[in-house]
């Protein structure tokens, strides 16, 4: 075709805004992470530690343990979990072409939850020798397996001759979610008092058990899943036009859907395994970012990871100090902060635009 225009008068370019947001969010994440390292039940402060180190002094054994074995892995794990949950939400929403989709909605999180609850309740019935071998890994591993199996089942149900029907997948997710809720109910019925307290705590989500061991098992899975997710930007944008049109503009739609499903399963499974049921991050983060810099999935995925990490580290820090010396489950904080924001978004956008 022949061009007619000579000047290039572009409208407000949201790409620049989104790129600038990368820097702001990265800076904010650094600040938040340092502040979180500085905060805790023992009253150990970062300036004091740095002062000691700068003065050529040695950290005491307690100080070293608190900083390196408790707070540091916890901050890293919080960043990974927050980023993984937010990116999972963004990918899921792009895949389902629906801003309210979330791993929580298609049953991936409840699959992970059932795995964990089953492990807590039935694990006690395992022979002592087996318990000794699996030990504390049982709950995370079971949660992880639960999310994988859920995703695979969904995929098998919703895919025919290589084509995934998103509508079938959503409905199957609702059915599986109901089934998992019922089975979890059975487990809770079977549980004794101590198990019930474990269940409640796990179900509300917490980073209290953070350790280098957990970070080393779950961290790389989350990071890898997110790196793969970052490559799906153009494909998810195209999917906004519908599957057929996405294919017509050159996107390998079936492969895109496979990748999206796998990354969501891996990121969500690993996150739920180490932190339990932390809600709202996956829905609130992409919503806020779309308001700020538009729905382009390229920058949106990266900003989601950053903002998800920021929000989760903040929520975890609050969870640690609000009722010190004990702590709140972090899921309570994210729900208390997230639900009003979510409602506010719905009210603000109602009738104007579907974000």
């Amino acid at each position: 075709m022949t061009a007619v225009s000579t000047t290039l008068a572009l409208p407000v370019d949201r790409r620049q805004r989104a790129r600038r947001l990368h820097l702001w969010l990265a800076a904010a994440l650094a600040v938040v992470a340092l502040a979180s390292l500085d905060t805790g039940a023992t009253g150990l402060s970062l300036p004091h530690l740095l002062g000691t180190l700068a003065g050529g002094g040695e950290l005491s054994a307690v100080e070293r343990t608190v900083l390196f074995d408790i707070r540091l892995p916890r901050v890293f794990l919080g960043m990974c979990v927050g980023a993984a949950l937010a990116v999972s939400g963004t990918v899921m929403q792009g895949l389902f072409r629906n801003p309210l989709a979330d791993p929580g909605i298609v049953g991936v999180s409840s699959g992970a939850g059932l795995g964990a609850i089953g492990a807590i309740v039935l694990g006690a019935a395992l022979p002592v020798s087996v318990q000794a071998v699996i030990g504390t890994h049982l709950v995370p591993v079971a949660a992880f397996v639960g999310s994988w199996l859920t995703t695979l089942t969904l995929y098998r149900v919703a895919t025919r001759r290589g084509f995934t029907s998103v509508a079938t997948m959503l409905l199957a997710g609702i059915a599986l979610g109901a089934l998992f809720a019922a089975l979890s109910g059975v487990m809770i019925y079977l549980a004794d008092d101590r198990q019930l307290r474990d269940l409640t705590f796990w179900g509300l989500g917490s980073l209290a058990g953070a350790s280098w061991a957990k970070l080393v098992t779950a961290g790389p899975i989350m990071v890898l899943a997110m790196l793969v997710a970052f490559t799906l930007g153009r494909g998810l944008n195209g999917l906004a036009l519908g599957e057929a049109t996405a294919s017509h503009i050159g996107i390998p739609v079936q492969r895109l859907k496979n990748m999206a499903i796998l990354t969501v399963a891996a990121a969500t499974g690993a996150a739920v395994a180490v932190s339990g049921g932390i809600g709202f991050i996956g829905i609130v983060v992409p919503h806020l970012l779309r308001l700020a810099s538009g729905p382009d999935h390229g920058p949106l995925l990266i900003n989601s990871a950053l903002l998800g990490a920021i929000l989760l580290v903040i929520a975890d820090t609050i969870a640690r100090v609000v009722v010190a010396p004990t702590e709140l489950p972090i899921g309570i904080i994210t729900a208390v902060l997230g639900a009003p924001v979510f409602l506010w978004i719905l009210l603000r956008r109602r009738g104007i635009l579907e974000v």
């Binding site: 075709m1 007619v4 290039l8 409208p11 407000v12 036009l241 017509h248 503009i249 050159g250 538009g294």
Partner: protein, 259 residues
């Protein structure tokens, strides 16, 4: 050259297309016409690979079923009958989506040029979802134009396949879109359009395939296909083809009305 041989489509055990042959040549506008439910959309979707079919489909000598989507997308753009967009993208963001990864040159400029062609350059920063139905359809047309901008690339023609591209447009924009398609064909590209408006078809189409009940009723030059007999049979009502006094364009009206 776009050629489809013996295309059959079954949906849920019902045969929708019963062995349709279809050809379109670069440099021409080829229209697919026929009554509601005759299988026009299904034929177009079979050709683009959107619905599974049996039979051979060749585009520029390639078996389209063996090509990956990105190679197909480099050869042809497709405009569906309507498009529902999932997120609040702006107009220019939608048009840019049509630009493939390897596209050379300035993508923003290409997108703005495409919007200029459909008369919507001033709408670039508006939310797509806030536009009227006809405006949205023109934005989608701009997206397709941006994708297959050069009608000939490396000596091979490119194609635009459209399902009722002007159905939701006013007469001025109908003519504008049809002229753009004519220009594209005259520059060496191939155009295949499902058409309901037979007068526009008469004005702009070189070739025509008339289908009815999932079968080809007639195929050939638009003039040869558009006869009283063919059209009346296809649409199951008496129609008469006239030529306006200047003898340039064909004009169609119900046979009963002016007799």
């Amino acid at each position: 050259m776009l050629s489809a041989r013996n295309i059959r489509v079954d949906i849920g055990g019902t045969a929708i297309l019963h062995g349709v042959d279809f050809t379109a040549r670069p440099g021409q506008v080829t229209a697919i016409a026929g009554p509601n439910g005759s299988g026009k959309t299904t034929l177009l979707k079979a050709v683009t690979g959107e619905v599974p079919s049996t039979g051979d489909i060749m585009l520029n000598g390639y078996d389209t079923r063996t090509l990956p989507p990105w190679q197909l997308a480099a050869m042809r753009g497709v405009l569906p009958q309507s498009t529902v967009l999932a997120f609040p993208f702006t107009v220019i963001e939608v048009v840019r989506m049509g630009l493939l990864r390897g596209t050379s040159g300035n993508h923003d400029r290409r997108a703005m040029d495409a919007l200029g062609l459909v008369g919507l350059a001033d709408y670039a920063g508006r939310y797509y979802q806030e536009l009227s139905g006809g405006e949205q359809q023109r934005v989608q047309f701009a997206r397709v134009l941006a994708q297959v901008w050069h009608p000939v690339e490396n000596g091979e023609p490119r194609w635009i396949l459209l399902d009722e591209p002007v159905a939701s447009l006013d007469i001025g924009h109908q003519l504008e879109v049809m002229r753009l398609l004519r220009d594209y064909a005259e520059a060496g590209g191939g155009v295949v359009a499902v058409m309901h408006d037979l007068n526009l078809t008469a004005m702009f189409a070189d070739s025509m395939t008339l289908i009815s009940g999932g079968r080809v009723l007639a195929h050939g030059t638009a003039e040869a296909v558009m006869t009283d007999v063919n059209l009346s049979r296809a649409y199951n009502c008496p129609l008469r083809v006239n030529h306006v006094p200047d003898n340039v364009s064909t004009f169609l009206h119900p046979a009963g009305a002016t007799g």
